[in-house]
Amino acid sequence: MLRFALTRIVMAVPTLLIVAVSVFVLIRLIPGDPASLMLGDLATPASLADLRTRLGLDQSLPVQFAIWFGNLLRGDFGVSINSQEPILPLIVSRFWISAQIVLVAVLLASLAAVPAGVVAAWKQDASLDIGLVALATLLLSIPTFWLGLLLLLFFGLKLGWLPVVGYVSIGDDPWRGVLYLVMPVTTLFLHEIGVLLRMARASTLEVLRLDYITHARAKGLSETAVLWRHAFRNAFGPTWTLIGLVLGNLLGGIAVVETVFTIPGLGRLLVDSIFARDYPVIQGCLLFVALTYVLVNLVIDLCYPIFDPRVTAQ
């Protein structure tokens, strides 16, 4: 078990390195002098020269990467061109806004979709199953930015139950903070229900065919015991992995939902920076989300043996 955990953790290191290299190379692909890109229009010859030495632009590319990477490890992601703020604190504050929406939505979606998927598989081809699968496929097919717009139109504008746009931190005003989160969370929740239900159903079907399920029934166990004690735990592995992927993808794609509801999250920061050509911030956002994605999936991987002890073997 310890060996399994160590192997997985060590295996994540090269991935993280290559991620860093890719982001570094990506920004260097932009034509022009990196220092003037980093400083934008406000550059003075003196600050340009200063940055050039700091980035090591007179030295070879690997050295430049080493300097950049060293700064990253010390938490120095650079300074935003637009606001002149240090980037890491900026990203972290925006990240929490996005993360709370994503986490709550995925948690609720898992709690609803996984049991529903298992039951659908158990009732395969009955009308309950067909209904659930049809609903899931429908929800899956509605893009979040349109779903958000529809919710906004209906609950915000027509019924006037919920605030239409904007964001208030829960820390500042818990009640209003929650109100502002209801629609974005619901949007993601409804979409991810579709994704997770289908996966939970498919992997449960896969498991229900196996001999050990028949063996469990042949022992005289009730259907409830067979389904939840024997089938569920073995079927949950693939869904668990998918939850990790969904978390990362939502973090990468949350910009559209933040745009619909005008929420100042990480996604919006990235998109605004692309508009503003604020390259240090773009670089920082890409790195930060990719790192989070790798770490989330690492944690998911490390928990996997709970559902399938076989993975620790070898």
């Binding site: 050990y212 028949t214 029934r217 042949a218 005289g220 024997h230 735990r233 073995n234 399938d308 076989r310």
Partner: protein
């Protein structure tokens, strides 16, 4: 219940696929008395598994019961309320499955899985359950029963898992045990051990067994009575010795005729150059890739030497992990040897050596799995014709002619050339694989378990075809098999392998009748031999009976 009343009585059971109304079990009836072992024998599609599973009320949702009754201990199973049925399952009727890899829950410890049934059906306290489980695990031969309680199934070998499975079922001392091909997935030696354990356990507990199998030899050895099924119907049932000695129904006769019997002894000239000679062959499998290094390589073959003479069939036998498949792959050039030498007509065949080209054109191979050995996107004609691509001086017309000729030889004429592999049965596919192997008229053919994936009667036909072609074209053959019966039928010489080494080799009759090595004796004693009798029947006997029971 009177002592003579049957424990289980199936009458006129008829099952059909709901959507198509296709009958899969038709009017099946048989009975099992308390403590009796009854075998159901049939090939795939005979309905034997469905009929047996119906006894426990396990009819798949797509199948419906059209007629018939199943009486267990005087109670009707087919109309039983689910709650009552669950009280019968496990407690009164147990079930053992074929595939030890999937019949235990991979995410639950052995202890918990065994405890479940006890907790459900016997009101014992935790300590009492633990005591019973440990006793049973010791009984089925686990070295460390206490450690096994907290272990997961993947930590055990297939044979051990099947023992654990038996423990799990017999713990509840059921009156009836349904065993569906319980040892088919195991090696011959392990197979016999597990079967004998099962027989001992059921005798101790007075349990009756319904044993489902495709293997008539095995069933006849352990069962008092046999039920023969074919296409959903019972064609014949009766006492095992009677059915074996005097089969009545044509299908039973066909099944018995399909069982391999020892073939004639053929003479080969002494001293001639072997067509293929293997000298001190070593094969290592690379170790698992770690981050910057590999773990130690694993040696699969430790210096193998053998000869195959012109026209000779040399069989390589051994259990799984013996290295017999690796040997075949190395000789076929699919695995790079780590040492030693392979000579074809006296010339080394390694790449860039003088014999390479001639060997490539003269060596062909038939694989085990007819579902994987044919490219699914090519027609049969293209498949059989492909080896001719590398034959010089053969124009398109001559190629077509050769393909037609070979397809006729393997009995696939009527338009088969235009069909695709998925349109063919397993037996037909293996005929295609054989046609592809012989189309270039090779002088040497490697056959790796070529009939193991086939049903008994199809196996006999394909084997007969293979032998006929071997005689007609006179190619030499390295025949790799785990099936001693098949080897006894076709081999001229036998090579016995164990753990990457040859433990014994010699003429077939010497190996089968007077084996010297302990492993050979163990292997032979695991599988019953056959002799034909008059009346189209066979007689079953244990080989080396005196050697195994001193």
């Amino acid at each position: 219940m009177s002592p003579t009343a049957p424990l289980l009585e199936v009458r006129d059971l008829t099952l059909a696929i709901r959507a198509t109304d296709r009958t899969v079990v038709a009017g099946v009836g048989f009975a099992v008395s308390p403590g009796e072992i009854v075998g159901i024998v049939g090939e795939s599609g005979s309905g034997k598994t469905l009929a047996a599973r119906a006894v426990m009320g396990f009819v798949p949702p797509a199948v419906e019961r059209l007629a018939g009754s199943i009486l267990f201990d005087g109670e009707e199973i087919t109309t039983m309320a689910p709650k009552r049925l669950r009280a019968v399952r496990g407690a009164r009727v147990g079930m053992v499955f074929q595939e030890p890899m999937t019949s235990l829950n991979p995410s639950m410890t052995i202890g918990r899985q065994l405890e479940e049934g006890l907790a459900l059906h016997r009101g014992l306290d935790a300590a009492g359950r633990r005591g019973l489980i440990l006793e049973m695990l010791r009984r089925v031969g686990l070295a460390d029963p206490v450690g096994a309680l907290d272990a997961f199934p993947h930590q055990f070998s297939g044979g051990m898992r099947q023992r654990i499975m038996l423990a799990s079922v017999m713990l509840l001392r059921p009156a009836l045990l349904l065993a569906d091909e319980p040892t088919t997935a195991l090696d011959a030696v392990v197979q016999r051990d597990v079967m004998e354990l099962m027989v001992d356990l059921i005798k101790e507990n007075g349990t009756a067994v319904l044993l489902i199998s495709h293997d008539l030899g095995m069933v006849a050895r352990y069962c008092g009575r046999i039920v023969v099924m074919c296409r959903g119907e019972v064609v014949e049932q009766g006492r095992s010795d009677e059915i074996l000695a005097r089969p009545q129904h044509p299908y039973t006769r066909k099944l018995l005729a399909a069982m391999p019997l020892r073939g004639p002894v053929r003479a080969f000239a002494e001293g001639s150059t072997p067509i293929v000679a293997v000298r001190d062959l070593v094969v290592d499998y690379p170790g698992r890739q770690r981050f910057f290094a590999r773990s130690e390589p694993k040696r699969a073959l430790h210096g193998i030497s053998l000869d195959v003479k012109a026209g000779e069939v040399v069989a390589v036998v051994g259990g799984s992990g013996s290295g017999k498949t690796t040997l075949g792959q190395a000789i076929a050039g699919l695995v790079e040897p780590g040492g030693g030498e392979i000579l074809f007509e006296g010339k080394p065949i390694a790449r860039r050596e003088s014999g390479y080209r001639a060997y490539r054109l003269n060596c062909q191979m038939v694989f085990q799995d007819p579902y994987s050995s044919l490219d699914p996107r090519m027609t049969i004609g293209q498949l059989v014709g492909e080896p001719l691509r590398l034959v010089k001086d053969l124009d398109a017309a001559a190629r077509r002619e050769r393909v037609a000729e070979v397809l006729a030889e393997v009995g696939l004429t009527d338009g088969f050339a235009e069909r695709y592999p998925h349109e063919l049965s397993g037996g037909q596919r293996q005929r295609v694989a054989i046609a592809r192997a012989v189309v270039r008229r090779p002088s040497f053919v490697i056959a790796d378990e070529p009939v193991s994936a086939l049903d008994v009667t199809v196996r006999a036909q394909v084997l007969a075809l293979f032998l006929e072609l071997q005689k007609k074209h006179g190619f030499s053959c390295l025949f790799i098999s785990h099936d001693l019966g098949v080897v006894e039928q076709i081999a001229d010489r036998v090579v016995v392998m164990n753990e990457g080494r040859i433990v014994e080799q010699g003429p077939r009759d010497v190996i089968f009748d007077a084996p010297r090595h302990a492993y050979t004796r163990k292997l032979l004693s695991a599988v019953p031999g056959l002799e034909s009798t008059r009346d189209g029947g066979v007689r079953l006997f244990w080989r080396l009976a005196q050697a195994t029971s001193p």
